[in-house]
Structures are given as structure tokens and as C-alpha cells.
């Protein structure tokens, strides 16, 4: 599971990545001398996605002995910049292109094609005895910014809200901050717990508690929802229907609001080699890897768009 990675394991992964990059560089040299035809696919970008795409690439290379893919992190912005400047073949990004970036790309004659390869989702949990069943995105944002302080305001019992969250450097923390808090500060009263499991443990004991955890952590080893917590349904706004992250179809199709597709972009129509890798990622086999790594697979709507962009 991506979110469980310890710092040590991350370092190891970073080391492995560097190792892979070095090996890849050697491979490139070798192939350059042996045959000028074989080309390394350079993938760069989002740190959230780097482990996932690395594993996808390894599986792909195991199947296609001729293929060579190097995956680097650096952040979504780094990947998108590299596509604009033509220094990589495929960019990973966990957010959409900004208007500024699109303008810059068009200026340089780059027409990006965007593919959604997986979906990342967060769930909002409360104590099972809380009467609140659903919240809007705006309400979740206000609660974690500390503007709504009592459950009464959102139709719950007259009780002070007790906030639980992740540590400031976790990806989950910044995902919620960007996506739901509109890039505003978290309340200073958020109790920062050491991982998803501790948040679940705390909320299951705290009648007034509310926390956020990756959807994969909601289930115990038997595949049932953990005891003592209630998973809230989320509405995009006051007038839209509420969806639960437990409704897999809603997450696949990005109808569940606190989710984001994870993207890859190419400059113009992808080359045959890159298109083949993307097809592998979107194949049932690739999507199974996506689910195994704790993300969600892509729903039909997004898949249809991907197909269009591949042609």
C-alpha cells in the first residue's frame, strides 16, 4: 500500500530508482552502440504515482523484453514542464494541467494528450454513533479549516467537533488541503496521528471525532468495514447527490467528490512504443496492478476518453 510506505522504504525505493536509472543509462549507452533503433521511454513527474508507474513499467518490461522504461519522480509540475520542454516522453501528474502550463505548451507548439490511468480517493470517517450521514465538499473544508466547530451546524448533535488528520508531510494531508480545503490552512486543533490506522482507532473511540483516511484502509482483512466508524457520503455541492467511497462505481467514474484521477500526458499523439505502454496500463492486467497498489481503476467514461486520445 502506497500510504504505508515508511521513510526507510522510500529511501530504498529512491535508491532502487536511482539504480534503475543508472542501469537504464548503461542500457541506453549499450543499445546506442548496438542498435540505434531501440529507445528508452523516459517517464517523469508525480511522487504519488512514481511507485505505481515503476511497478507497471517493471511488469511491462518483463512481458516485452525489448522495452526499456525509466521512471523518475520530482512532482507533477516537474513532469508537465518536461513534456513542455520535450525532455521526457511521458509525464505523470496527480493534478490537472494549469491554464498557464497549457498556454506555455501551445506557445511552444506542444499539444498535450492526457490519459487517466488510475483514481486516488480519500474517505471522511466519523464515529458510528454520529447522526451525520453526509457532508458537502464545502462543509468538509470548513470543518478541517476550523470554521465549523460544532456538529450542530451540519445537522448533528450539539457537540464540539474533534479533528483527526495525518502529518503535514504526508501526501494524504496535502491532497485534502489542495482538493477540499482550497489551499487554506488546516485548523491548529487537528490532532495529527501517526498513520491511517491510528486515525481509525481514534475516531472509533471519539463520539465527536472526524478524520480522513485512504479508502483502502477502511476494510479489515476480511474485507469488511472496520468497527466503530461510519464512512460519510460526500456531495460535490448542496444540490448534487451524495456518493459514498464504498460505492466503487462512483469512485471509478469520479462521481465521488474527494477523488482525483491520476494522469499521464504525452506531447501530441503518443509514439507507438509509448502508446503500447499506456495500453498495457489500461488493460485489465494493468488495472489489476493499480488496484493492488491501493488505487482505483478507471471507470468507463474516463476509459473512453483515453481510447480517443490514443488514436
Amino acid at each position: 500500500m502506497r500510504k504505508k510506505l515508511s521513510a526507510g522504504f522510500k529511501k530504498l525505493m529512491a535508491g532502487m530508482l536511482t539504480g534503475t536509472a543508472l542501469l537504464a543509462a548503461c542500457g541506453l549507452l549499450f543499445t546506442a552502440t548496438a542498435s540505434a533503433q531501440r529507445k528508452m521511454i523516459q517517464v517523469k513527474g508525480s511522487d504519488t504515482m512514481v511507485n505505481l508507474v515503476q511497478i507497471l513499467a517493471e511488469e511491462y518490461m518483463a512481458k516485452k523484453p525489448g522495452a526499456a522504461i525509466a521512471v523518475l519522480g520530482g512532482g507533477s509540475g516537474t513532469g508537465i514542464t518536461a513534456i513542455i520542454n520535450g525532455t521526457c516522453d511521458l509525464a505523470n501528474h496527480s493534478r490537472e494541467w494549469k491554464t498557464k502550463e497549457l498556454d506555455l505548451a501551445f506557445e511552444k507548439g506542444v499539444r498535450p494528450r492526457i490519459f487517466a490511468i488510475a483514481v486516488d480517493a480519500l474517505s471522511i470517517i466519523v464515529n458510528e454513533n454520529n447522526s451525520v450521514d453526509s457532508l458537502t465538499m464545502a462543509q468538509v473544508g470548513s470543518i478541517f479549516r476550523g470554521e465549523i466547530k460544532n456538529w450542530k451546524v451540519v445537522g448533528g448533535p450539539d457537540q464540539k467537533i474533534s479533528l483527526y488528520g495525518r502529518q503535514s508531510n504526508s501526501g494524504t494531508y496535502s491532497f485534502l488541503q489542495e482538493h477540499v480545503l482550497n489551499n487554506k490552512n488546516y485548523s491548529q486543533d487537528v490532532k495529527e496521528m501517526n498513520g491511517n490506522a491510528q486515525i481509525i482507532e481514534a475516531v472509533s473511540q471519539d463520539l465527536a471525532g472526524v478524520g480522513y483516511v485512504g479508502v483502502g484502509y477502511l476494510y479489515d482483512e476480511k474485507g469488511e468495514i472496520r468497527r466503530g466508524i461510519k464512512v460519510l457520503q460526500i456531495k460535490k455541492d448542496e444540490n448534487s447527490p451524495a456518493y459514498s467511497p464504498l460505492d466503487k462505481e462512483a469512485v471509478y467514474s469520479a462521481k465521488y467528490a474527494i477523488s482525483r484521477p491520476l494522469y499521464q500526458s504525452t506531447s501530441g499523439k503518443p509514439s507507438a512504443a509509448v502508446a503500447d505502454f499506456i495500453r498495457f496500463e489500461l488493460s485489465p492486467e494493468g488495472q489489476a496492478i493499480v488496484e493492488k497498489e491501493g488505487f482505483f481503476k478507471i471507470g468507463q467514461e474516463l476509459m473512453d476518453q483515453n481510447d480517443k486520445n490514443l488514436k
Partner: protein, 301 residues
């Protein structure tokens, strides 16, 4: 004759070598200390290119990854550290000294032989286990007692730290009570004092330097402890207004943020700045303890 002389030259050489070796190891301890201080200073100074020292020490808001404006004030965490530590010592010190007095003066040798090793075993419990007990056992209990929605509070941290500081306080206090010469006790009893009077007016004042040392060592343990408070206190960044609130200590903050902070950024340097503050705090505590002990010793003489 010659052989004896040779031997004594060899002996001198051996002695001076041994002396040098001990001298070096003594110096090494000082060097390591200075090295750590220099490293902390060197790594934390770049932080103050962007943070004013005034903000660092007097602002109560700490939010280095804020998308609005990064803030680097450690006053809330400083207050939390002091609050949790003082709370722990308020619990552990009277209890610890009482247990030490019981063990040295009241308990039968049989009881002492069982209780003392058990107390020392308490020190062997890993801090993460103590933290886990605080998280899963004590905090729900506190929530029930104080009618709170959750028990991840400064009080929970203080209780857990008290458990961890107890063995130090008990065993050092007991040792120093036992070290009081028997003649003192005999003289006191001979003058007609009962056992309570002897304990409170003769033994404890005579052993006070050791008892204070145990307090200081307990304080050092409490200030520096990380994992337990990280798990037990909830780690909210707000300024603490009471023992029944979630707090974040300086050590917990370093543990939380250093793992994934981008290296060589202001945030990274600021975390070392916190380390420097912690270092100076413990240094000051130890220095005060030494000065008190020194004064006490002179008084006894």
C-alpha cells in the same frame, strides 16, 4: 637490579599510556558534545535567513507547509513540552520518593527483593509500548473520567511519562536514602525521634542531593521522550490552555516532520533549530542540577 629497573620503566610507560587513554576518552566525550552542538548550530543557522528569531521564539503558529504563508513559531510547542514534563514530574516525583522511602525504611527485605527488580523492569518497557498503552487504554479512560470526547491530551502524556520517569526516580532516591550513614539514624532514634521523624527530618535532608538528582534525571527523560508523547498526546498544534487539551511537544514535532521534509529547505533547517532549543533546555537543566548538588555537598561538609 637491571631487570627491576627495566620493569619499573615499563610500568611507568604502561601507567602513562593508561592515563593517556583515559584522558583521551574523557576528552572524546567533550568533543562529541561540542560536535553535536556545532552541528546543530551549523544546520539551524540557515533557517534564520528566512525566519526572524522573534517569530521563531514568540509566535504560537507552526505551519511550514501552509499554502497561504509558511509559519515557524515554536512557542506553542515549547509551552506544551514544559506542561507535559511538569505534569509528569508532579505525578512521578512525590510517588517515586514515597516508594523509595518505603523500600528503604519500611519494607521487609523480602518485599524489597521483589519490588526493586520489578520497578527496574518498568524502565525496560519500550517507549512505543508505553505510548500504545496510553493510546488504547488510558486515553479512553481519561475521556470517560473527565467527560471528554477523546483522551489524547497533555494529561495522558504526563501520566505515561510519569510511568517512564518513575524507575529512575525510585532507584536513585532509594540508593541515596540507603547511603545515609547508619550513625545518623541511630543518633536520631537515640534522641527519641520516631521512625517517621527520622525519615523526614534526618534521612531525607541528608539524601536530598541524590533525590534532586533523581528529579533532574527524570526531567531529562521526560523532556527528551518522543515516541510516547507522539502517540499519547494527539499532536494538535494549538497553544495549550490546560492539561485536558491535545498538545504537540518539540520532540514529537521533530519526529513527525523530519521523516519526509525536503532536505536543505528552511523547514529542514528550522527543525534542527528546534533540536538546538531542546539541547539548550536539557543543558540548562543539567547545569542547574549540578550547581544545586555542588551547593548541597558544601553545606553537608
Amino acid at each position: 637490579m637491571i631487570s627491576v629497573k627495566k620493569k619499573s620503566i615499563l610500568g611507568d610507560l604502561k601507567e602513562s599510556l593508561i592515563q593517556k587513554a583515559f584522558q583521551t576518552s574523557g576528552l572524546l566525550a567533550i568533543l562529541v558534545l561540542l560536535g553535536i552542538f556545532a552541528l546543530l548550530l551549523y544546520t539551524s543557522v540557515p533557517a534564520f535567513k528566512e525566519i526572524s528569531l522573534k517569530e521563531f521564539l514568540t509566535s504560537t503558529r507552526w505551519d511550514p507547509t501552509s499554502p497561504e504563508r509558511p509559519e515557524y513559531g515554536l512557542l506553542s510547542m515549547l509551552a506544551s513540552t514544559i506542561m507535559v514534563t511538569v505534569g509528569a514530574l508532579l505525578i512521578a516525583f512525590p510517588l517515586g520518593v514515597a516508594v523509595a522511602a518505603y523500600l528503604s525504611d519500611v519494607a521487609s527485605p523480602k518485599v524489597r527483593e521483589i519490588v526493586k527488580p520489578v520497578v527496574e523492569l518498568l524502565a525496560a518497557i519500550p517507549s512505543v509500548v508505553v505510548g500504545f498503552i496510553g493510546l488504547t487504554l488510558v486515553s479512553p479512560l481519561l475521556a470517560k473520567i473527565f467527560k471528554l470526547s477523546h483522551g489524547l491530551t497533555a494529561l495522558n502524556g504526563s501520566l505515561m511519562l510519569a510511568i517512564m520517569a518513575l524507575p529512575t526516580i525510585i532507584s536513585i532516591s532509594e540508593d541515596s536514602l540507603n547511603a545515609v550513614p547508619v550513625s545518623y539514624v541511630e543518633a536520631s532514634l537515640a534522641l527519641g525521634a520516631n521512625r517517621w521523624q527520622t525519615l523526614v527530618r534526618v534521612k531525607i535532608p541528608a539524601a536530598i542531593s541524590g533525590i534532586i538528582a533523581s528529579l533532574m534525571l527524570g526531567m531529562g527523560r521526560a523532556i527528551g521522550e518522543t515516541m510516547t508523547v507522539l502517540m499519547a498526546t494527539g499532536n494538535a498544534r494549538a497553544f495549550p490552555h490546560g492539561l485536558l487539551q491535545s498538545v504537540r511537544t518539540l520532540t514529537a514535532n521533530i519526529a513527525i516532520e523530519l521523516g519526509e521534509v525536503p532536505y536543505f529547505t528552511t523547514h529542514y533547517y528550522a527543525l534542527f533549530g528546534i533540536g538546538l532549543v531542546l539541547f539548550l533546555m536539557t543543558f540548562a537543566i543539567n547545569l542547574t542540577a549540578d550547581l544545586i548538588l555542588e551547593k548541597q555537598k558544601r553545606k553537608l561538609k
